[in-house]
């Protein structure tokens, strides 16, 4: 929506939004140029959380970098763990036992649920409804309980290993997972009734910051942000890895349900629907998980052959691509990580032109950025 601003001559005002601001999801700084409430320009300023993860990766061994991938996207640490493991396995051509792959898929999808829950919850909190946020956190705690049971940690899991996973599922884990899924699935309908289709909420999101499909592709958006624009691109389907081809699930896309395809509401709904699909995947995986070892034979002094590999996986915030060059030594020669949030930040300035200040918050939330991923 654009607002006519030429009717009344006014002076523009520059406001700093962040790096300390409740709705920038971390230490994002947005330099707003506003004309009253209307934002004429919003330039994101990233880099406050830069820790040099890629350089660290070149200084530590392949196994040692695993805990650092937890810090790549701390809301979806399992996905980043597994992405790293898959990338190194691709580089070293390691065959992973099937049970380990199933466990990875289970934890990845559970983590997708918990990550989307945070996206959903913090989004509603940004929109002024604080209650759904706490409901989302409550559900996420259950996922954390499951992960704690599996690997002993609640946030930075360090569960995957090059060649498998760090430990087999403890007795009762799969049952508890099923219990959680049964508990969680009806909650999604509750969220929809509580907030998703609330008139105020719909009005805040629909037709705001529309990203047309071509533009989304041109800007390199991935994950729910791309699918929200109606492009059915999901690496789990289009470039299948691990055991994903064995599962039956649907790629959720934005349809312009309450406004224009590609608006904030579509991106929001894609996440809600993806949680449902993740539940389906986990159900199938738990039902079919084979017995067997969870760790392949990997030498303790792990030296992959010289070469390079690029592996991309579908993380909750878009494609996480890991590019590795090995010179045959114990640590990577070069490591490059491509993250969904960083790419999503590129389109920010374009879509926020002419919006209201409150919409800026809506756009940040709908792109579901996370700062450690942007700054790495």
């Amino acid at each position: 929506m654009t607002v006519r601003t030429d009717a009344l001559p006014t002076q523009e005002m520059t406001i700093n939004m962040g790096p300390q601001h409740p709705s920038t999801h971390g230490v994002l700084r947005v330099i707003l140029t506003t004309d009253g409430e209307v934002v004429t320009r919003a330039v994101p300023d990233v880099g406050y959380l830069h820790r040099g993860l890629e350089k660290i990766g070149e200084r530590v061994t392949y196994a040692q970098f695993m805990p650092f991938t937890d810090r790549l996207d701390y809301l979806a640490a399992m996905n980043c763990n597994c992405a790293w493991a898959w990338a190194v396995e691709k580089l070293a051509k390691i065959e992973v036992p099937e049970r380990a792959e199933y466990l990875r898929v289970i934890v990845c999808e559970l983590n997708r649920i918990s990550s989307h829950l945070i996206a959903f919850g913090s989004y509603t909190a940004d929109m002024g409804a604080f209650t759904p946020f706490l409901y989302a956190i409550r559900e996420r705690e259950r996922v954390n309980d499951l992960f704690e049971m599996l690997c002993g940690n609640r946030l930075t899991y360090n569960y995957a290993r090059v060649g498998g996973v760090s430990g087999d599922a403890p007795p009762g884990f799969l049952e508890k997972t099923k219990e959680f899924l049964d508990y969680f699935e009806p909650k999604l309908d509750e969220y929809n009734n509580l907030i998703s289709y609330n008139k105020i909420f719909v009005h805040r999101l629909a037709n705001v910051a529309v990203i047309p499909a071509e533009e989304a592709v041109a800007y390199g958006l991935t994950g729910p942000n791309l699918r929200g624009s109606g492009v059915p691109f999901d690496l789990r389907k289009d470039e299948p890895y691990s055991v994903y081809p064995k599962f039956d699930f649907k790629v959720c896309v934005g349809t312009g349900e309450r406004g224009t395809p590609g608006d904030c509401f579509d991106r929001y709904m894609v996440r809600i629907n993806e949680m449902r699909e993740s539940v389906r995947i986990v159900r199938q995986a738990v039902a079919r998980i084979p017995d067997g070892p969870v760790m392949a034979k990997v030498p303790r002094l792990f030296k992959p052959p010289a070469g390079e590999a690029y592996f991309r996986s579908e993380c909750p915030r878009g494609e996480t691509g890991i590019y590795l060059i090995s010179d045959g030594s114990v640590n990577p020669f070069r490591l490059k990580i491509r993250t969904g949030s960083f790419v999503a930040m590129n389109i920010f300035e374009k879509v926020t032109r002419g919006l209201m200040i409150a919409d800026i918050v809506a756009v940040i939330g709908s792109l579901d950025i996370i700062l450690p991923e942007i700054d790495r």
């Binding site: 409740p22 909190a125 002024g128 409804a129 604080f130 706490l134 209201m356 409150a358």
Partner: protein, 371 residues
């Protein structure tokens, strides 16, 4: 007050020698203190209840550490607010910055004067009661705008501008939604309005059930009043997720406390006006409180009034923890495109109803059918 002072002097021989003005002044001060204490207590307890309600709704417990079950939390909060350092930003307009909280607090507190708590429990039964409430609560705008401007903070300024636009816009639907009650009672005095809803019809004497238009006008009033007093979902001037905290972002200590108290004071005023104008005020259902001895009648009616008002406050809290916030243009659209036309239609409807049916409500007509 003078009449009361005179009767008091007649009743108590000890006061016979004291000049009339002194007793009157004393009574005024006493009434002010009583109302201030009531307002502050309500605001304290209100903040605790708000947090408890939030806890219950959000599957939490809420404050439960200070005192048994956390009931002393508001005292702890109050002590904290008083003891906190009072910071005035270096580049703030010091005079206006200091002045703003008083405007806001006075605006909300002065409205308590005409709230009809009971049969005879009203500090000043002004014959322009509703008009007075509308006028003094407008003082809040000045305070909020001053706070936003004087803070010399861009977020605060945006909050202040939003508040000014919002409160001024929503005063129209609030006023228009209250007029049906005035029309039914034929008086601007809140006591008269409450009395007009008495009678043996019980809850059916309420303006809420008087006719379909007054029924809708209650909901319109409630919605518009929430917006006028910056309650969620219309808390745009504060909007902690957009404007950080809006107009009071630079305030700390007791100055912030005054804004905080005023917010709860406004909440009560809205609930009290809704109760007085639409829900029968202090009228006890199926019972004439005025026929009882003075003390019992007042106590009973006070209890009934507070019960109704607190229920309204609870509903406001419930709404607050359910709904997301509107955007500023949507808020304006809601005021001018929805609430203002609807309240005008309602006003027209009520006027026509009163003209056609000679001031009788539906329950009264049904009652007259059965003799």
């Amino acid at each position: 007050m003078e009449a009361l002072a005179r009767s008091l002097m007649n009743a108590v021989p000890l006061l016979a020698g004291v000049p009339l003005w002194a007793v009157t002044l004393l009574l005024i001060v006493a009434a002010a203190v009583v109302i201030l204490v009531f307002a502050l207590t309500f605001e304290g307890v209100g903040s605790l209840v708000l947090r408890k309600v939030a806890g219950d709704i959000q599957a939490r417990i809420g404050p439960n550490r200070v005192g048994p079950n956390g009931i002393l939390q508001f005292l702890a909060d109050g002590v904290k607010l008083v003891l906190k350092e009072d910071i005035i930003p270096a580049n703030a307009d010091r005079l206006l910055f200091k002045l703003a909280p008083y405007f806001v607090f006075v605006g909300s507190f002065a409205a308590f004067v005409v709230v009809p708590f009971g049969v005879g429990l009203i500090a000043a039964d002004l014959n322009i009661g509703i008009y007075y409430v509308m006028a003094v609560t407008s003082l809040v705008v000045v305070g909020v705008l001053l706070a936003g401007w004087a803070s010399n903070n861009k977020w605060a300024l945006l909050g202040g501008m939003r508040a000014a636009a919002q409160i001024v816009s929503y005063e129209i639907p609030v006023g228009m939604a209250l007029i049906p009650a005035v029309l039914v009672a034929g008086s601007l005095s809140l006591q008269d309005i409450v009395r007009s809803q008495g009678g043996l019809l019980g809850i059916f004497g309420w303006n809420l059930f008087h006719n379909p238009f007054s029924f809708f006008s209650f909901f319109l009033y409630f919605t518009a009043a929430q917006a006028e007093t910056n309650q969620t979902p219309f808390d745009l001037p504060e909007a902690e997720s957009e404007l950080v905290s809006g107009y009071n972002v630079e305030y700390s200590g007791i100055r912030f406390g005054l804004f905080f108290l005023a917010e709860f004071g406004d909440m009560f005023i809205v609930a009290a006006l809704a109760t007085a104008c639409f829900l029968g005020g202090w009228n006890v259902p199926f019972f004439h409180a005025a026929t009882l001895p003075w003390i019992w009648g007042n106590l009973l009616s006070l209890g009934v009034f507070l019960a109704k008002a607190f229920t309204m406050v609870l509903i406001m809290m419930w709404v607050r923890w359910t709904l997301p916030r509107l955007r500023v243009d949507q808020l304006m659209r809601m005021a001018w495109k929805y609430l203002v036309p609807l309240t005008f239609i309602n006003l027209l409807g009520v006027s026509l109803w009163l003209l056609v049916f000679k001031g009788k409500g539906i329950p009264a007509m049904i009652a007259s059918l059965f003799g």
